[in-house]
């Protein structure tokens, strides 16, 4: 079983809604990631946090807002999304940004109506 836990597993939201995706890991990892995955495609990197600081933002639209409250938690706040944002959102963690293996959670399946 993965040690990266994501909630909710499924989310349906309208384009005017505000929602959040949550991720938690208790492996002591100091690097946490958000990826987006469309059907039959590889994961695409969105954000990287290192020691609770945003280290990489892959030019993601501002309607996606990440937050890292502490070393174990990672959130992705969603607002004014578009139907094309519907995808599987994956959280991942790693020992450090340049060390260790990357472990993914099961993902949150997002549908934007």
């Amino acid at each position: 079983d993965t040690e990266v836990t994501q909630t909710p597993k499924h989310l349906v939201m309208g384009m005017t809604n505000k929602k959040s995706l949550k991720c938690e890991q208790h492996m002591g990892h100091r690097a946490m990631y958000w990826y987006k995955q469309k059907a039959k495609k590889p994961p695409e990197l969105m954000f990287v946090y290192s020691y609770e600081k945003l280290s990489i933002n892959e030019s993601v639209p501002s309607r996606f807002s990440p937050e890292c409250p502490n070393s174990s938690l990672l959130n992705l706040h969603l607002h004014a999304l578009q139907p094309e944002d519907s995808a599987l959102y994956l959280c991942a963690s790693r020992t450090g940004t340049n060390t260790g293996e990357l472990f993914f959670g099961e993902g949150s399946r997002l549908t934007v109506l």
């Binding site: 590889p42 990287v48 994956l90 940004t97 293996e101």
Partner: protein, 116 residues
């Protein structure tokens, strides 16, 4: 952006067969090359990874072969089973521009079907 070329795009084998999935990378100075297995509706699960200082690594029925000079690595699944039917992604680390951190670049994936 680091390119990782994965082939084939899809693969069908009979139970007991040995599917082989190949990946080629451009350049890297970092430390490992992982393979991920993903079932429909699930997140990618780390299957096996290899360091560039060895040419082969086995874990159960899964083997990675690594050819550093050719910049290629491949996944072999021995005695494949219907439960191995999934999408497999290779990946290679690459220094992300401007940050100094390494991020994984994924291949496009191989959909494997193992028939009973």
């Amino acid at each position: 952006q680091q390119q990782v070329k994965q082939s084939p795009q899809s693969l069908i084998v009979q139970k007991g067969g040995i599917p082989i999935i190949n990946c080629a990378y451009e350049n890297t100075a970092f430390d490992y090359f992982p393979w991920y297995q993903q079932f429909p509706g699930k997140g990618p699960a780390l299957l096996i990874a290899i360091r560039p200082d060895v040419s082969e690594k086995k874990e159960g029925r899964f083997t990675i072969s690594f050819n550093k000079s050719a910049k290629q690595f491949s996944l072999h699944i021995m005695d494949s089973q219907p439960g191995d039917s999934a999408t497999y992604f290779c990946a290679a680390p690459w220094p992300h521009m401007n940050s100094g951190y390494s991020t994984l670049t994924f291949g496009k994936g191989t959909m494997l079907l193992v028939s009973p």
